[in-house]
Amino acid sequence: MLEFLNQIINGLSLGSIYALVALGYTMVYGIIRLINFAHGEIYMFGAFAGMLAITVLRLPFFLALIFAMVVSALLGVVIERVAYKPLRKSTKTAALITAIGISFLLQNVTAMVMGNNTSAFPQVFDQKVYDLGGIRINSLQILIFGVTIVLMFLLQFIVLKTKLGRAMRAVAVDKDASVLMGVNVDNTITITFAIGSALAAAAGVLIGLYHIRVVFWMGTAPGLKAFVAAVFGGIGSIPGAMIGGFAIGLMEALVAGYGGTMWSPYRDAVVYLLLIIVLLVKPSGLLGKNVKEKV
């Protein structure tokens, strides 16, 4: 039982990361029906930005976190304007291939500038392990979970309670009708990219801190798993991405904890197996709407 609770705690902190990244996938998909496969690299970029903010700019951790979120949001905006916006009226395949291209570009440029090897992420906090009657909680896990919950509340507030959020939802439903209301569709899409990128960057900084290192390929696997999380929750649905992220994190932790030597090396495979099952059984995901694709 204690082991189980410990794995739940591991799963929740891991799931926080997946959920933050999944939100960007789902928001961008919701508004322009694009699977932004470069999103994992924004997460990687955010981790580097946070690392450099601490080591070079000497910023305290939370300022570094905000710094990383802001510059990654700007990167997301530039990518959207330069690479995706010109393709808005092209086929989905063209945009998808472009996203994959951007992903490689960001990885290679990062490798060129920062080197192929892992860089150390400064340990700005003394890690404490709290022992609550056998349940071990690491202070960083609390930080990851706490930051994630705060960001999720902030996002939900923006999306559900503000004029910007209404515009984002309206554009996701019907672009022409949004124009007739007075919404600037291009700007709304750009802001959506910015918000999604900022969330991914926060996840990147948190994981950098947790794993005490960053490297140019670090976005690939979590990016894919976050994508699985978004699909699992119902792509396009913001609560779905949150639930999906936590679900994937928990599953991975449980397989790692209980799989023994036989299964735990295959925890990633379990996640992808889940994707296949979800796609077979409920293609629209947990909270996804069963709408026909608009062409």
Binding site: R166, A167, A170, D176, A177, S178, V179, M181, G182, V183
Partner: protein
């Protein structure tokens, strides 16, 4: 003259959708545009609202040239507001949020509140369902919402694209009464309809559009009694 469309041409690729269309709308009028499916009625409204590009011609609204605007989303702030074909309410958003979308460009908080109260007074059903997902409304209620949402923008010229589409006869009558009411309270109306009978009855002036060309025009009464209109659009 609130709206003057001059020699407007619209192409979709090789298809010539509007072929030199001229229409004029005087302030305070109801002007109806009738025609069968694919005649170009919706294309005309969408071009006026800047959603599709004209290949040539001009659109003067309040004596300003507005053809092919760089920012079509700013037109509602000038009082040029469209209720699109098929209502296009925002599913997943509440009735209240849909109405707020109509007032998107307005900054006068007090005025918005007042207009919201007016909408709720006029359509109590929207008041009752204001926190409900707009997609759960019936067709007639959705049309009322779509019209109310447009009213939240304080239109001077309201473009209505097939407001009676898919509604039961009793509701159709109600929608036309609403249109007349809106007009009576000072809003000019350009109405596109397939329901020629009703559209001509309430029209000060009307146009018949066939395959992208205006083929007939006159007062609503004149067109109602025109043998061609009777034969093609009024079923005998």
């Amino acid at each position: 003259m609130i709206l003057k469309v001059n020699d407007l041409n619209v192409h979709y690729g090789v298809i010539h959708a509007l072929k030199g269309v001229n229409i004029e709308v005087e302030e305070g009028q109801i002007v109806s545009l009738i025609g069968s499916n694919g005649a170009g009625k919706t294309s005309l409204l969408r071009t006026i609202s800047g959603l599709i590009k004209a290949s040539s011609g001009s659109i003067e609204y309040l004596s300003q040239e507005i053809v092919n605007p760089k920012h079509p989303e700013l037109l509602p702030s000038t009082g040029l507001v469209q209720v699109p074909e098929g209502r296009k309410i925002f599913a997943g958003m509440s009735v209240y949020e849909n109405l707020l979308m109509g007032a998107y460009l307005r900054k006068d908080k007090e005025g918005i509140k007042e207009d919201l109260a007016n909408v709720y007074a006029r359509f109590p059903i929207l008041d009752q369902r204001k926190h409900q997902d707009a997609a759960t409304l019936s067709g007639g209620e959705q049309q009322m919402l779509a019209i109310s949402r447009a009213l939240m923008a304080k239109p001077k010229l309201l473009l209505l694209d097939e407001p009676s589409m898919g509604l039961a006869p009793l509701l159709v009558k109600e929608i036309f009464n609403i249109i007349r009411d809106i007009n009576a309270s000072g809003t000019t109306i350009l109405l596109v309809e397939q329901n020629a009978m009703q559209a001509l009855r309430i029209a000060d002036k009307a146009y018949v559009l066939e395959t992208g060309t205006i083929v007939l025009q006159g007062t609503g009464q004149e067109l109602l009694s025109s043998p061609e209109v009777q034969k093609v659009y009024l079923g005998g």
